[in-house]
Amino acid sequence: MKRIYSVLVENRAGVLCKVAGLFWRRCFNIDSLAVGETEDPTVSNMTIVSSGDEHTLEQIAKQLNKKIDVIKVKTFDESDSISRELILIKVKYNKDNRRAIMENCEIMGAEIVDMSTNMMTLQMCDTPHRVQIFVNSLKGLGIVEITRTGTLALTKCST
């Protein structure tokens, strides 16, 4: 089971380390973790995606709440949220695979954001699920490097 934790924390040195350390120490998974400042510069928002059984997922929320730098923990499933992930993929191209790469981009709504004579960088921002489909579609087509933000998520405006 997957779950998303939207965690408001004090924007202080060392807090990321404390939260990540908690997951490590208690053997909780981190599928992804994204951090950034909120509208209030003293507060950061961490979006953590984790997976495990129901008991573990409940423990994660409780242990996060116990951390003294944590202000608030919101827990939700992907279906209750708008979630997005940004990915950059550098691929090596030649005249044989160039067409296939471009078609995949077109189908999945990805963009080519940088290019040289034999490399191009693709960008896609979509749901984590569609991002994964896109990555899979490029396997065997010369992937050189990938970087992705991890999931960012907010609860839906109306549920």
Partner: protein, 545 residues
């Protein structure tokens, strides 16, 4: 004013009278500022023991214990003490000196990332960046350490911050933290649910843990048990909540607990876990206490509830506050048949114990029987005496046989740190100078912290020390005997030092029990006066705990 002067002023505001420490260059400004206050520093002989001593002090005063050590090795030596306090939720505020701020991260002399190293066993930690922040940090640190689920807080103090000039001093009166608001009052609806479940129960039982002591709720628990005739068992950390010979008390549960206590837990139809973690040593099969039973879990830490076993009724809050609230409700319970059953189990268990003891002595052993010795020791001590118990076989024997009357029983439960008893006894004695304080150790654990006899002598701390001498690391020796078919390795201590000469070196009185018959006389002499004394009791290395 310097940062260090501000700091000691804050400690005065917090009512600190005493702290345990060990100096080094990086904490010198702090100790220098301490000279101009009424706060007494106690120089221990090794940093870990400062934390254990502060733990004993904190447990007897109910206030935070305070520790101050230097950077680098001073700080890292402290780690085991901090982890021990964390495992048993003991409130400590620990100061570590640190290298100058601009050198942090350069791996300079005696630099250690102590807040990083301790992250997973402190309740919170600070690295002070500006001297002006000190009052706010100290206020928060004492509040965090001493409220909610208590625990150690670490404050790392770079040298330059201790020397930094601060324009003016003001100590915050109020504290409001948006990230930390521990629940004190129990939820009213949940309390009502507990009451109604208790009314329906035929075989209720309370299992009390260290949380009851930490909340200072011993009297409330006793009153509640007596008013509703509910039997009580305890975890190791909950020993002393009920007097051992109270008719409603049925001993310690767990691997090393009383058979009748475990049986009571298994046969109950309602279990109230009160300030206990459902930890593996107390409840080895958490599923068992869930099936066919109602489980109520009362704890100040919501994360403990449901961590191991999901209760039917969780109740979060301070135990004393909750039981004072529960007292106001009418509860009719009919437990007389249940209590008779349990009393029967207890009598059987006690008879078997007496038989066992006889059969052991029939084998011609003239050495004192450790189980019997601990019972006799406890009865020879004053009613309100404090005992600190080390870790190993001595702890198992003490848990099973020491009779707590009006006093306190302190041991390292969660971490099981050998060497805890002696420094904790020093702390307890300093907290309660009028009470009799006895440390019970094995000859292994004693040798881990025996350097503290120096501290005891220097400061005239008249705690008494019992050493159960079997020339082995008994509990592991026993484990190797049973589990590894007597393939003993690294568990024999050889001849052990001449403890009599050691006592003489530290100018302590010395007593010795070489055989069972000498026990009573030696105990009388050992406990006769207020001076520090050492009592060595020879026991059989093959005795099982």
């Amino acid at each position: 004013m310097t940062g260090a002067e501000v700091l000691v002023k804050c400690l005065e505001k917090e009512g600190v009278e005493l702290l345990f420490g060990y100096p080094g260059v990086a904490i010198c400004p702090f100790f220098d500022a301490l000279l101009d206050t009424q706060i007494r520093p106690v120089l221990v002989r090794e940093e870990q023991n400062a934390a254990h001593a502060a733990s004993g002090y904190a447990r007897m005063t109910g206030n935070c214990g305070v520790v101050a050590v230097t950077s680098g090795p001073g700080a890292t030596n402290l780690i085991t003490g901090i982890a021990t306090a964390f495992a048993d939720s003991i409130p400590l505020v620990c100061f570590t000196g640190q290298v100058e701020s601009h050198l942090l991260g350069n791996d300079v002399f005696q630099e250690a990332d102590i807040s990083g190293a301790c992250e997973s066993f402190v309740k919170y930690s600070y690295i002070v960046r500006r001297a002006a922040d000190i009052p706010q940090i100290i206020k928060e640190a004492f509040y965090i350490a001493g409220s909610g689920r208590k625990g150690p807080v670490l404050i790392d103090l770079p040298m330059d911050i201790q020397l930094e000039e601060v324009q003016r001093f003001s100590y915050p009166k109020e504290l409001s933290m948006r990230t930390y608001k521990p629940t004190v009052k129990g939820n009213g609806a949940q309390i009502k649910r507990v009451i109604s479940q208790l009314k329906d129960a035929r075989r209720p039982i309370m299992c009390v843990g260290g949380g009851v002591h930490l909340s200072g709720a011993e009297a409330e628990i006793r009153r509640f048990a007596e008013a509703h005739q509910i039997p009580v068992v305890s975890t190791m950390m909950g020993i002393g909540v009920m007097p051992t010979e109270h008719p409603l008390y049925f001993g310690m549960v767990g691997n090393n607990g009383h058979v009748y206590g475990n049986r009571a837990m298994n046969e109950a139809d309602l279990i109230m876990m009160v300030g206990a973690r459902v930890a593996d040593r107390s409840i080895s099969q958490p599923d068992l206490i869930m099936t066919g039973k109602i489980m109520i879990h009362i704890d100040v830490d919501p994360a403990e509830i449901g961590k191991i076993a999901g209760p039917n009724t969780p109740l979060v809050g301070d135990i004393r506050t909750i039981f004072r609230e529960m007292e106001k409700h009418e509860i009719q319970t009919t437990t007389s048949a249940w209590l008779r059953t349990l009393q029967g189990y207890k009598t059987d268990g006690a008879d078997r114990e007496v038989q066992n003891r006889r059969s052991r002595s029939i084998k011609g052993k003239t050495l004192a029987d450790p189980a019997q010795f601990l019972r006799e020791l406890s009865l020879a001590m004053k009613k309100d005496a404090i005992v600190t118990v080390d870790v190993g076989q001595n702890q198992m024997w003490a848990c099973a046989n020491y009779v707590v009357r009006d006093g306190s029983f302190l041991t390292s439960g969660g971490m099981g740190t050998m060497g805890y008893a002696l420094p904790a006894a020093m702390g307890a004695k300093l907290a309660c100078p009028k009470k009799q304080v006895v440390a019970v150790c094995g000859d292994g654990g004693f040798q881990m912290t025996m350097m503290e006899l120096g501290t005891m002598e220097q400061y005239g701390i008249p705690a008494k020390v019992v050493i159960l001498k079997n020339r082995t690391l008994g509990l592991v020796y026993q484990y190797q005997k049973l589990r590894f078919k007597k393939r003993y390795i690294v568990t024999e201590l050889g001849d052990t030092p001449d403890f009599e000469k050691l006592a003489e070196a530290y100018r302590m009185q010395y007593f010795h029990i070489g055989s069972q018959e000498e026990t009573q006389d030696a105990l009388q002499a050992f406990l006769a006066d207020e001076k520090s004394a050492m009592l060595v009791c020879d026991i059989d290395p093959e005795a099982l705990a």
